[in-house]
Symmetry: C2
Subunit: 302 residues, 2 copies
């Protein structure tokens, strides 16, 4: 079934304890699209890049079945650029450069052919932009998933609260959940956040796994223990892509389906972090994905 | 079946964001004994206290079925005393006072009636003291579980390595596993530590759950999300008590049994942190324990 993905497509320059890249392809919507392409062949991208964005990368995205009719190319401008450096434990990072460029006045235009998409993934962007997407759809999608970050809680909390009231699923990390709710205990934090709108809440804890909350129920999926975590950039977006991809594949939005979707999201994220940027999201096989998915089950069964 | 518990029985003074205690009862062996008493009626304590230790507390320990023949009382000395203050997130703490007192020259004497214990829990103490216990037993127990901490890695690493070579299960936290192995990735760290001796390794991650390693297998148990975490003191020891208690109850030491034991350990720890000190470890019912044990299963099932 069809998925509409909105977010950034951008350049990243990344430094980790294991190496350093020049400008490589990044952006929330790139990771989300690539990750969800393993679950759906009807993915529709809305994003904006500058004239400096390599055409062959757009072709690579198209080659995995992503529809790029909604990808605006502003030939006379530059693409969004982010550069960051991870600390030795990969759990924290320092932003070195943020150049908004085309993203500064991003006006997300929804092509008519995208209007009936059933699943909407609002990747991390200014909440006002995310809200405009919802307003421009003729029909509300079956499920709306929102990703955001602490930056918007700091500078655009009112806008964020407006969009929160309109979505079904929110994905944030544990620190952000504490900031947004003002509660330290995640159980209390989750109740307060769900009262703001979303009926499902996902709290991502990186190497410590992810939690899914719904009403008074809680589900937990651990993170796999990998031989090597190389670059955490995009892990959260890759997670979101696997999550909404699996939901779209099944066509169901009940708690049990979302639990399994959480594990598929974690599965995809585990591939992402093994190499730089989006590199490891090309050419995975369904067998590889299934094998790793099964490892999650083995890890918690008793 | 019979369990031999060695460790400190002591006074603690605790300050958390939720309150402050005067001297209350603490010490690794107190938590371990109380916690394991819900699984076994043959628990044999070896520890030392001073003349200042309240006799009625010893009676309370006896009242849950713990044998205190091996509890030395040095009437003219003072009990071990620790005082600490937790930060607002309860994840880190500052030690305010450590008075070794009777623990400074603790000579763990094993009563003859304890000699045939089948399960040995070596609570956190100087590794040389832990080693002397093993040397004084006529028969090696069926399973030896060792708890230790970063302090001994800093000042008594050689002794620690000697005892590590002789135990079956080691329990430490994630930071300690990284320190002991020199590896950041827990999967690699676990392999290095198991090569030092223990065939099972438990890595405790506090609010992020606990991992059990054995050969190339990994099991993970989350931590329950509690309404209120009040005081984390003794959580690791209470965990160890539930863990070895369940093993002693079943009489089995295979990986599957240890997986379930890990969940019972986590169950007991979740009760411990809800009140100050050992307070919540008195008067629990088997139904309460079973109910909470079941919550762990629900949390990871999909």
């Amino acid at each position: 079934m069809s998925i509409l993905v909105i977010g950034s497509v951008a350049f990243d320059a990344i430094e980790t304890p294991f190496g350093k890249t020049d400008k490589i392809i990044g952006g929330a919507a790139a990771y989300i699209s690539l990750s969800s392409s393993y679950f759906s062949n009807n993915i529709n991208l809305v994003a904006v890049v500058g004239g400096d964005f390599p055409k062959d990368y757009i072709q690579k995205i198209q080659s995995v079945g992503v529809n790029t009719v909604g990808l605006q190319i502003k030939e006379d401008q530059k693409s969004f650029f982010w550069s960051g450096k991870y600390n030795y434990d990969l759990n924290s990072r320092e932003t070195l450069v943020t150049e908004l460029n085309v993203l500064g006045d991003f006006d997300p235009i929804i092509p008519d052919s995208y209007q009936n998409c059933e699943y909407l993934m609002l990747g991390n962007l200014a909440p006002a932009v995310q809200l405009s997407v919802l307003e421009r759809l003729n029909h509300r999608p079956k499920l709306v998933v929102l990703d955001t970050m602490n930056f918007w809680m700091d500078i655009a909390l009112d806008d964020l609260k407006k969009i929160l009231a309109k979505v079904d699923v929110l994905t944030i990390n544990d620190e952000e959940a504490r900031q947004l709710s003002g509660e330290y205990q995640l159980k209390k934090a989750a109740q307060k956040i769900m009262a703001m709108g979303p009926s499902f809440l996902i709290i991502k804890k990186g190497e410590h796994g992810a939690l899914l909350f719904h009403e008074n129920r809680t589900f937990f999926a651990p993170a796999l223990l990998l031989d090597q975590v190389f670059d955490p950039t995009g892990a959260g977006d890759t997670f979101a892509g696997g999550f909404i991809g699996y939901i779209a594949k099944t066509g169901k939005t009940d708690f049990d389906t979302l639990k399994t979707a959480l594990v598929y999201g974690s599965t995809m994220a585990s591939f992402c972090v093994e190499k730089f940027g989006t590199e490891n999201l090309f050419g995975l096989t369904q067998e590889q994905i299934q094998e790793r998915f099964n490892e999650f089950k083995i890890m918690v069964e008793y």
